[in-house]
């Protein structure tokens, strides 16, 4: 009897514990490799970190932040990241919406092939894409300049000049991502029922009116989410800069993440790197909160 009761109790405890045991590894991974490091990074941003001799690590308050916001490198990298994000997002969005609307309802083989071709760059590494474009953007022997010359234009300096380098990096990012976002937007277009278009046709709406009054408003919630995801992604730009420009010339393509990378690997200044990382953290955090706020609102509508 005593044993029976004990069994009963342990079974009861087991039943309560079961879900916690199932999620334990996942939560452990998150705590260890996401939450703890993020807190540590923020923590370090208030310290003068000495990795070789941890005893010499000392609290410096906001000094790291003051330093980086007074350094032209950091301010420049922040500004570049902003410009980069703005242009990539605008370009990708415009191209993807236009392409998605154009290709969206076409079911023929050639359209499908075009779609697949556009999507291909998305699954190729940024490193590889960066290398291919670095070659194509060669000033004297690059493919792109040959084309420009062939159609009677001047050679472009691409990544060699501080006035065109950032634009070159933006171009690569746009080229890589257009196909993916086109397909995503096509997905939301397909969720609009045909009957709405048929009703609009019976109401004698022109193609432009249908687009303006029906298509765009119906997909705009999804466009907003896509926009935020794109923005978050753009703020993390690193690979193209690493293989195409190394932040140059003259810091004209230095980005937030590349700045952090430089602080760690060439300046060995962990405190500043941590402050830079925290700035990225804050930006992404704000965008994430915005994303979920919109999401909960959208769920609320339905």
């Amino acid at each position: 009897m005593e044993k029976g009761r004990k069994n009963k109790k342990s079974r009861h405890i087991m039943r309560i514990l079961k879900p916690y045991l199932l999620i334990a590894p996942a939560i452990l991974g998150i705590m260890l490799f996401t939450v703890y490091p993020a807190i540590k990074m923020v923590f370090w941003s208030f310290y003068d970190v000495n990795q070789l001799n941890p005893a010499k690590t000392k609290f410096v308050g906001m000094k790291n932040y003051v330093k980086i916001f007074h350094s032209t490198d950091f301010v420049k990298s922040l500004k570049n990241t902003g410009i980069y994000t703005l242009w990539t997002v605008v370009f990708i969005m415009l191209c993807a919406v236009v392409l998605a609307i154009w290709l969206g309802r076409k079911k023929d083989k050639f359209s499908k092939f075009t779609q697949a071709a556009m999507f291909l760059p998305h699954i190729i590494s940024m490193i590889s894409v960066g290398l291919i474009f670095a070659q194509m953007m060669g000033v004297n022997n690059g493919l792109l300049n040959e084309i420009l010359v062939a159609v009677g234009l001047e050679r472009c300096q691409w990544t060699q000049s501080s006035s065109t380098a950032l634009m070159s990096v933006i171009l690569v990012a746009v080229w890589k991502a257009i196909g993916y976002y086109t397909v995503i937007i096509m997905g939301s277009l397909q969720s609009i029922p045909d009957s709405i278009y048929e009703a609009a046709a019976l109401d004698d709406a022109s193609k432009l009116t249908t687009l303006r009054k029906i298509t765009i408003p119906l997909i705009s919630p999804q466009l907003f989410f896509t926009l935020i995801i794109m923005t978050i992604g753009s703020f993390k730009v690193f690979e193209t800069i690493r293989v195409m420009t190394a932040g140059g010339p003259n810091n004209s393509t230095n980005s937030l993440v590349y700045y952090v990378y430089q602080q760690v690997f060439t300046k060995y200044d962990i405190g500043r790197a941590a402050a830079g990382g925290t700035v990225l953290f804050i930006i992404v955090g704000i965008l994430t909160i915005l994303y979920f706020a919109l999401l909960s609102k959208k769920v609320h509508y339905q």
Binding site: N7, K8, R11, H12
Partner: protein, 347 residues
């Protein structure tokens, strides 16, 4: 084979009490149907027996043993679900065998039992098919075979026929009654359909708002209801009810009334106009409205009356039921029966 007993059982979902201090005994070998409107707690009771929705407090006994802390799979019960709950990725054979495999029953015995179960439901030739290719009725049979194969001491069924079309439902009803005869185990069957309850059960448990309204055989349920709720729930069309000024009421079944053009003999007499007429085949349903806008439904073998016709209806004294202010039945031997009967006769 086992009886089932609920002792002082309470079930709470978050803060809402669905069932409070319920006692119920289901006899060994019976075909008991739990019936009631949706949300009355009938499925909750069934899930308690299965152990997939344990009670908040109280005891559930299966074959005199408290099963509260026994896992669902070890209670010796089998269940057939409303949408069959067939494992979609397994073949028919794997579906039926799954429970036996989990019990580590040797292969030969497994095969023999699967074969037997399939023969009982007539699904032998479908053993190697995937459920996706089968019709609703066939899935229902697999679900039955999956339950049969386990030789359970209790069979639980949660509205198993509600997803079938009308014709198949009638056919499956007969098959389930025969199955119960063959297996001789306890069947507990949940439905919201009183016709299903009446046609299949040997004992009906009628529930409303977590409480048992009446537990009796179908004929007692119909002929001798304990309260107004039972009287109105069982039988189709429902019992005609007219209230007295004091809140108590009397009623009679649509088939108990006799209809004619002229006034005749009868304890309760009323004149009214036929507002609607539904031809059912051998019988006809008339909806009759009098000057006070009381509406009664009469089921009659005579289809010669038409809409807007003025008719008399008459109900014999022994076919009239009286219910008190608390909606409980007032029977012949109870106080006030004669008074109320007098009132009916004087109308």
């Amino acid at each position: 084979m086992a009886s089932i007993e609920f002792k002082n059982v309470t079930k709470q979902f978050d803060k809402t009490v669905v069932i409070k201090d319920l006692d119920l005994k289901i006899e060994d070998g019976s075909f008991t149907v739990l019936v009631g409107p949706s949300g009355c707690g009938k499925t909750t009771l069934l899930r308690m027996i299965a152990g997939i929705g344990p009670q908040t407090s109280g005891e559930v006994l299966v074959g005199d043993q408290d099963v509260t802390d026994i896992e669902p799979g070890k209670r010796g019960v089998a269940m057939v679900f409303q949408n069959y709950a067939i494992y979609p990725t397994m073949t028919v054979r794997d579906n039926i065998e799954f429970g036996l495999k989990n019990q580590k029953i040797p292969k030969e015995e497994r095969e023999r039992r699967v074969k037997e179960a399939c023969e009982k439901v007539g699904m032998t030739e479908y053993l190697d098919r995937k459920p996706g290719t089968l019709s609703g009725g066939q899935r229902q049979r697999i679900a039955l075979a999956r339950a049969i194969v386990k030789n359970p001491s209790v069979f639980l069924m949660d509205e198993p026929l509600s997803n079938l079309d009308a014709k198949l439902r009638v056919q499956m009803r007969v098959e389930l009654i025969e199955l119960h005869k063959k297996l001789k185990t306890t069947f507990v069957y949940v439905t919201h359909d009183q016709v299903e309850a009446m046609s299949m059960a040997d004992t009906i448990v009628l529930m409303n708002q977590g409480k048992i309204q009446q537990m009796a055989s179908p004929s007692v349920m119909y002929k001798d209801p304990d309260n107004l709720f039972t009287a109105r729930f069982i039988g189709s069309p429902a019992m005609n009810v007219k209230a007295f000024e004091d809140g108590s009421c009397f009623g009679f079944r649509p088939e108990a009334a006799i209809m004619s053009k002229e006034k005749e003999d009868g304890w309760f007499k009323m004149q009214g106009t036929i507002a609607a007429r539904e031809m059912l085949g051998s019988e006809t349903l008339y909806t009759i409205r009098n000057e006070q806008q009381d509406t009664f439904v009469v089921k009659s073998g005579d289809d010669s009356h038409g809409v807007d016709e003025t008719v008399w209806i008459h109900v014999p004294r022994e076919k009239i039921y009286i219910f008190g202010k608390d909606e409980m039945r007032i029977r012949q031997q109870d106080d006030g029966y004669e008074t109320y009967m007098g009132k009916v006769g004087a109308m």
